[in-house]
């Protein structure tokens, strides 16, 4: 809200330098947003805290300045309202559940142009001058923070007001803007026939004009949530509406009406024509809050004397009694934000000055470290994949609906979790797999002329296990894709070996033994070219394979994409801590032999090699060294820790290996070397 300093200074003295004022206001909770200067005129625009509606009137800010600087507060003159007329017919309340208080009284007035000082003040806020009566209602709102309205009685059918819910579809024309349809959720201030005002704005019809001779002046506090709903639905923003959406003080509207009455008498010759109508079912009494003196230091860490604390609260409008280690504080009703002790402690310390709070390091017992083992495992996986030269991406859990459809080619995906109010209706699905965004990013990289892309992500996936049972699961996924050296090279096997190399490196870092078994049902991987990563006790730790060719085609990937997705929770069940092993150079030389053989479409070479390795203690390594069409060459390294091996030692083992390959795995060796 903007505050012209010249207007503000009518209620409280200001420091000579406006910077001293705004620096202090910023520290107190009202941050300077802009400083505008026109000649000698300075206007400050402050960002107000959401729970301080009392500052939406200039006198409210004056009180804040008085609280810190201690210059006297000069509230503007007021005139007592006509006595309450309990049998007044001026207003009928038909929707009491939407109101906190409604005060109104009728006046004879002489409507003319406003004096220049009044017009000028409205100008600061871009409010056009209409006539003295309308201008006074706006002026008092700016001065005190309380919106109010004047109706021309002669234009009201029945010369009275009815506060009721609108009928569904009932039309209302605000004094500026288009006619809008209302609903029964909207409160209207109506005459006998039609709505004459909403909580947030008056109507064209019954406003005060130069031929008005008598008015009803009213001020009210409505249920703020209801006002907010109406304002949002109709898309109408007004100064009055902004205030009514906050928690206003029912007590305080009396002061505002008294102020308006004073000005109306001065500028419009106003004379009451009847008593005051006051609908006020729940009298708002000031509350008393107890603040323990010890709590002030306990929470602020600052030593503040009882006298200082008491004096600060009094300058803010409280009545304070100190007794027996507590302050009994009666808070002013216009501070609707003060509810309990912590609120008052904030008042004390913010006026005292946050800059006076000392700085202290957190002392006391350092709590035991409780970082979840899941997070620790994720960091390990992250580091391992980085070391294996895979780059990390982070993406949104929300994906485009078309992406979901492209990836859920098979029916194997569980029903997805969907957002019912997405900002973009085409992006309403939560990802059921990390591969969706990974593949998308990979294709993007390739289209941006990268020759190779290796990406991973660690994050959550979502699905519905049963209707309305929403699952959120931690996964790690990675993809590898490269443009082949030779343009038409479409071989898959070498890339599978690369993919499995990464898996191997990762699990070695995690100290977990595993097998890859052909088969599995990851919905986004090729049904024939995918495998399950299984732990030694048969837990499924993840899937590896080729991205399903249908998906590759639909997303227009220029090359095959190889992917893996791992189940972090299952890995966590097995993971103890990274072991990894190191060995020293062997003292005796190894013997290395290669065996080549043809594979057939049922070969599972990984399993065969695992069996070969297990067949003898002196086999230290078995690896695939060549992949050429359907021929595979494996290299077997024999090593003995205590002696140099000879062909005599190797020969029987070699025989055994050939037998295992032939008989158990149907792999006939072609060449021996």
């Amino acid at each position: 809200m903007v505050y012209p300093l010249s207007w503000l200074s009518e209620y409280v003295k200001l420091p000579t330098l406006d910077k001293d004022l705004t620096d202090r206001l910023t520290m107190m909770g009202h941050m300077l947003d802009k400083r505008i200067q026109h000649g000698k005129e300075i206007i400050i625009d402050l960002e107000l805290r959401g729970n301080r509606p009392d500052l939406l009137g200039i006198t409210g800010l004056a009180r804040e300045i008085h609280a810190y600087f201690e210059y006297s507060l000069k509230l503007p003159p007021t005139k007592k309202l006509p006595p309450i007329n309990k049998s007044s017919n001026l207003v009928k309340v038909k929707a009491p559940e939407l109101l906190e208080r409604f005060m109104a009284f009728p006046l004879f007035v002489k409507v003319k142009a406003s004096p220049n000082w009044l017009k000028k003040k409205l100008e600061y806020y871009g409010i056009p001058s209409i006539n003295n009566v309308v201008d006074i209602t706006n002026y008092v709102m700016l001065e005190t923070g309380e919106p109010m309205h004047a109706f021309d009685i002669s234009k009201l059918s029945g010369k009275s007001l009815i506060l009721r819910r609108a009928r569904n579809g009932e039309l209302f024309t605000p004094f500026h803007g288009q006619t809008v349809p209302l609903t029964i959720d909207d409160l209207v201030i109506s005459d006998l026939k039609t709505p004459q005002g909403l909580t947030i704005i008056g109507s064209k019809h019954s406003g005060v004009t130069y031929d008005t001779t008598s008015i009803i002046l009213e001020a009210a506090v409505y249920k703020y949530a209801n006002v907010r709903r109406t304002a949002r639905r109709l898309g109408i923003r007004t100064e009055a509406g902004t205030r009514h959406e906050k928690i206003l003080d029912t007590n305080f509207i009396q002061f505002s009406l008294e102020r308006a009455y004073y000005l109306l008498e001065e500028l419009a010759d106003a004379k009451p024509s009847d008593g005051t109508f006051d609908f006020y079912p729940n009298l708002n009494k000031p509350k008393t809050i107890i603040v323990k003196i010890s709590d002030i230091e306990r929470l602020t860490g600052t030593e503040i004397s009882i006298t200082t604390a008491k004096s600060i609260l009094e300058r803010l409008g409280c009545q304070v009694i100190f007794k027996k280690g507590v302050l009994e504080v009666e808070t002013p009703t216009f501070r609707t934000d003060l509810i309990e002790s912590a609120d008052l402690i904030e008042e004390i310390i913010r006026i005292y000055g946050y800059e006076r709070i000392p700085t202290r390091q957190l002392a006391g017992e350092i709590p035991s470290i409780q970082t979840s083992s899941n997070l620790l495992l994720e960091e390990k996986i992250r580091d391992s994949l980085i070391n294996l030269h895979i780059n990390e991406i982070k993406t949104s859990s929300i994906i485009a609906d078309t992406d979901y459809i492209n990836f859920a080619q098979t029916t194997n995906y569980f029903p997805p979790v969907k957002i019912i109010n997405p900002p973009d209706v085409n992006m309403s699905t939560l990802r059921p797999s990390l591969l969706i965004n990974l593949v998308s990013a990979a294709v993007k990289a390739l289209n941006f002329r990268q020759t190779e892309t290796r990406l991973f992500e660690i994050g959550k996936i979502f699905y519905q296990d049963k209707p309305d049972k929403y699952m959120e699961v931690n996964k790690a996924g990675f993809v590898i894709a490269k443009i082949p050296q030779e343009k038409n090279d479409r071989t898959i096997q070498p890339n599978i070996a690369i993919l499995n190399g990464v898996v191997s490196g990762l699990f070695e870092d995690l100290g977990i033994e595993y097998d890859i078994v052909s088969g599995g049902c990851h919905p986004s991987l090729d049904t024939k070219i995918q495998g399950e990563i299984r732990s030694k006790n048969n837990q499924i730790l993840g899937s590896v394979g080729l991205l399903h060719p249908w998906i590759q085609q639909i997303i227009k990937s220029p090359v095959s994409i190889f992917a893996a997705e791992l189940n972090i929770e299952e890995i966590l069940n097995i993971y103890k801590s990274s072991t990894g092993s190191y060995s020293i150079y062997p003292p005796y030389p190894p013997i290395v032999e290669d065996i080549s053989f043809e594979i057939n479409k049922d070969s599972q070479i990984g399993i065969a090699l695992a069996a070969v390795k297990k067949s003898s203690d002196i086999i230290s390594k078995v690896e695939v060294v060549d992949i050429f069409q359907n021929s595979r060459t494996i290299r077997i390294t024999y090593l003995h820790p205590e002696k140099s091996l000879s062909d005599k030692d190797i020969s029987p083992i070699r025989q055994k290996i050939l037998e295992i390959l032939k008989n158990k795995f149907d792999l006939k060796p072609r060449v021996q070397s």
Binding site: R298, L362, N374, E392, I420
Partner: protein, 337 residues
């Protein structure tokens, strides 16, 4: 015999000097010094056939020849050795040639920032927490002192899975609600994570964003501790010379509430576009955990107190790594190699 020795010496010296490489030199050595057939060796064997007087004279001469040839062999060997080194150096080698960085993997920028922040707070005794992205009204709002119809809830435009009931968390503070319920004080946690809001997407606003929050609850924790901890963090993360400002600010989750600003590095606090001419940049929202939140977790606010803070981490990541569009940060647009 002396004549023979002289001939051998001259012949051998000539060959030694003309030897072009170490192998040739070795051949010369073998030719003259070989135990079985070396020319010099053969002649010296014949010394025994001479008379005693002749033996002395010829023997001395023979030894001189032997030494001369041995010295010549050695110095020629050294010369040839150095020449070889020089020859090897004929290849042109330029030390300033730019290298090609070997292939490596790189962390996502947000991970780097989170890890740095985590390290700072771990050294202050904090643990790292996480929690679900799919949340309930209870943990995302109610337990954070945001009852239905609270005016502050308007600012949280929520993405719903089921209305009411299940939503995507609008802030990582939902994890604070869970921490309060799960752990007994004293505890200290930081919470890096994703959050979601209904936003019109543009270069600086995305539906998904990340935040970095923290909470410390115990007995006797005050605003002085809040100041100390956050000051330490800012100096360690942004630089030793950074200035901070702690001012009063409102958030429903804290009371007293604090806004923490740091000095604008772009204009040295003189005022510029980046800091909206204020000289300070808003960095963190913080404050003392609201007593309502403690009560809802069955913690007595007369006994326990704590502070909490939160910041948007995306802006920090983007500033640090000079990425201008938040959609690129989480859209897989970062080029790594």
């Amino acid at each position: 015999m002396q004549e023979k020795l002289l001939n051998i010496k001259n012949e051998a010296l000539a060959q030694i000097i003309n030897a072009k490489d170490i192998e040739e030199l070795e051949d010369v050595r073998v030719e003259y010094f070989s135990k079985s057939s070396g020319k010099l060796t053969m002649v010296m064997k014949k010394l025994s056939e001479l008379s005693t007087e002749e033996k002395v004279i010829v023997g001395r001469f023979a030894n001189e020849v032997k030494k001369t040839l041995e010295d010549a062999l050695e110095s020629q060997e050294q010369l040839l050795g150095k020449q070889k080194l020089e020859e090897d150096k004929q290849e042109i080698v330029d030390i300033t040639i730019p290298g090609k960085i070997p292939i490596r993997g790189r962390l996502h920028p947000t991970t780097i920032v989170f890890r740095e922040m985590n390290e700072i707070f771990k050294s202050l005794g904090f643990s790292v927490a996480e929690g679900p992205e799919l949340e309930t009204e209870e943990f995302n709002f109610l337990r954070l002192n945001l009852p239905p119809d609270h005016p502050a809830r308007d600012l949280q435009d929520t993405l719903y899975i089921k209305d009411p009931g299940v939503l995507l968390r609008t802030h990582t503070s939902s994890i604070e609600s869970r921490i309060l319920l799960k752990y007994k004080p004293p505890f200290r946690f930081v919470i890096p994570g994703k959050a979601y809001r209904f936003e019109n997407v543009n270069a600086s606003n995305n539906i998904m964003f990340t935040q970095y929050e923290g909470i410390a609850v115990g007995e006797g924790i005050s605003m002085a501790d809040l100041k100390g901890t956050l000051n330490t963090f800012i100096k360690m993360f942004f630089g030793e010379n950074r200035k901070t400002r702690f001012r009063c600010k409102y958030y429903p989750q804290v009371e007293p509430g604090v806004g923490v600003d740091i000095d604008c590095p772009f204009c040295n606090q003189k005022g510029c576009n980046v800091c909206k001419y204020r000289g300070w940049i808003e960095m963190l929202g913080a404050g003392m955990v609201h007593p309502n939140m403690l009560r809802m977790a069955n913690l007595d606010p007369e006994k326990y107190s704590g502070f909490a803070w939160g910041m948007g981490s995306d802006r920090i990541v983007m500033d640090r790594f000079k990425i201008n569009d938040v959609r690129a940060l989480y859209g897989g647009d970062i080029m790594y190699d």
